[in-house]
């Protein structure tokens, strides 16, 4: 009986703790990502993530961002050149490589994929970013 209580308690705490830690981790990354965004991205993509029509593609409710996780990380990591189609609109504006660390890229990705109506259930980690090749 005692063991059972311990096991039940253990299961409970582990069940409770893990997601909590995760949400906290995600939230911390999003918070750091906001700082990166305010420094490097806001000038073109704007505080509301809507960008500028035909010049700077939107991040808010952007099909390109939400459906092309690796390509989006690659664009932040190595720069974006050439045409992309975002929400049915063609964009061809160069984005220079931003010179961010893998951690900063993970943070800003977590911020933009969880803001302005975007929702991302799988956290982006620096390890994931480090594996993205040019």
């Amino acid at each position: 009986m005692r063991y059972l209580i311990i096991i039940i308690l253990f299961v409970f705490t582990s069940c409770n703790l893990n997601p909590k830690q995760n949400t906290k981790e995600v939230q911390n990354s999003i918070d750091r990502g906001f700082v990166v965004y305010s420094d490097f991205c806001v000038t073109c993509h704007l505080p509301n993530g809507k960008g500028v029509a035909k010049v700077f593609p939107p991040l808010a409710e952007s099909d390109y961002l939400m459906n092309n996780r690796s390509l989006s990380i690659r664009a932040i990591k190595y720069g974006q050149n050439g045409e992309i189609i975002v929400n049915g609109e063609t964009y061809n504006t160069a984005m220079a490589p931003l010179g961010l660390s893998d951690k900063e890229i993970a943070d800003v990705m977590n911020y933009i994929t969880n803001s302005w109506g975007n929702k991302n259930d799988t956290m982006i980690t620096p390890e994931e970013v480090s594996k993205i090749k040019k």
Partner: protein, 368 residues
């Protein structure tokens, strides 16, 4: 049936006629020609005496474009490419033919602290390689912030060298403090030494290279072809992009006076003018994000002579500003929608050349 036939013939003739007219229209409407294709961010460029071009790509490549071919100049210093930092402007010594000096600005992480800051270097070209490199100025401290490196380089009629550095995203500490770098227009002798009559040489702890202060991020600078004055423009935040004429020791007000507001819409000042500080000659609100600046001083463009050209990064056009008595009295958009306009130069042939992102360097043709 007969009237129909007649009508058909008439329609056919009309089509021919309109086609011919359309073709003609296209010819006259096409107002540019691509000179250097396939560039990414041509941040600055300059014509060498043999009419070949040196082109700075922001990512850190110095391209020599000669006889339709690109080659890469070797021997660049290490460049800190982060945010708006990278390889920036390029300019030739006024007596380049004899001195051979090329001046350029870039972000560098040399010196103390993490991050980087704007650096001015001069060097000479020898067999596609930079030699005799000298760092003439390096702003400090380094910063990991991605914003506001400036910069443009220009010489005045007396041979002084001017260059700009933006506030490096630290608007509350840098621009109004002459003991700190950043948010300034600097003036140096051509060898990097500080002119004895610079405005702050006798101020304790002041950065003696400073010529004017209270700037946000000037990315356009040009000598007026007639007065010899140094004109700049600078990015405002949201609204409040400015044109200024640079005067010795003057404070241009950033961030105490501005027509702009924060990106998120909040205000940081309710003043657009402050006694003792210089007001802009012109401001753009909403912002166009100005980059590149040139006066038309040749006769090629007819009545446009004397106009000021300013590139818009944000809205992708070339703003032709008519200037009368140091005021912008009329503006017209040129080259709209080609791409973000980064750099502008009047070439030795009197034509205007424009660096457009993701396109290349184009030549502006006069409208017939």
């Amino acid at each position: 049936m007969k009237p129909f036939k007649f009508l058909n013939i008439l329609l056919f003739l009309l089509t021919l006629n309109s086609c011919a007219q359309d073709n003609k229209k296209v010819n006259t409407v096409k107002d540019y020609e691509i000179i250097v294709p396939e560039l990414s961010i041509p941040w600055g460029f300059v014509f060498l005496p043999d009419n070949s071009l040196l082109i700075n790509e922001k990512s850190g490549e110095l391209i020599h474009f000669k006889n339709g071919k690109k080659s890469f100049i070797e021997g660049l210093p290490e460049i800190y490419v982060r945010g708006q930092g990278g390889l920036l402007d390029i300019e030739l010594h006024p007596d380049y033919k004899n001195s051979g000096w090329i001046y350029f600005t870039y972000a560098s992480s040399d010196g103390e602290g993490r991050g980087g800051n704007t650096t001015l270097m001069r060097a000479q070209l020898n067999n596609n390689k930079l030699v005799n490199k000298e760092v003439l100025y390096k702003a400090s401290p380094n910063s990991t912030r991605g914003q506001h490196f400036g910069s443009r380089i220009e010489f005045d009629n007396e041979g002084y060298l001017y260059f700009t550095i933006g506030d490096r995203g630290n608007r509350d500490e840098n621009p109004q403090d002459i003991t700190r770098d950043c948010g300034k227009v600097y003036r140096l002798n051509d060898d990097g030494s500080i002119p004895e009559d610079n405005p702050f040489v006798n101020e304790p702890n002041a950065k003696a290279a400073i010529y004017s202060y209270g700037h946000r991020n000037p990315q356009g600078m040009i000598k007026h072809p007639e007065t010899g004055d140094i004109w700049t423009h600078e990015h405002g935040p949201r609204g409040g992009d400015e044109i200024n004429i640079i005067e010795k020791g003057k404070n241009y007000g950033w961030p105490l006076a501005s027509f702009g507001i924060n990106y998120i819409g909040t205000k940081f000042t309710d003043k657009t003018t402050i006694p003792g500080m210089k007001d802009p000659l012109h401001h753009w609100t909403p912002s166009i994000a100005p980059s590149g600046m040139a006066f038309i001083s040749s006769d090629i463009y007819g009545e446009w002579k004397g106009n000021l050209l300013v590139g818009s990064l944000k809205f992708q056009y070339l703003d032709r500003c008519v200037i009368e008595n140091n005021k912008v009295t009329k503006k017209e958009k040129l080259l709209e929608g080609l791409g973000r306009i980064r750099s502008i130069k009047q070439g030795p042939d009197g034509y205007i050349y424009v660096g457009v992102e993701n396109l290349g360097i184009i030549k502006l043709l006069p409208k017939k």
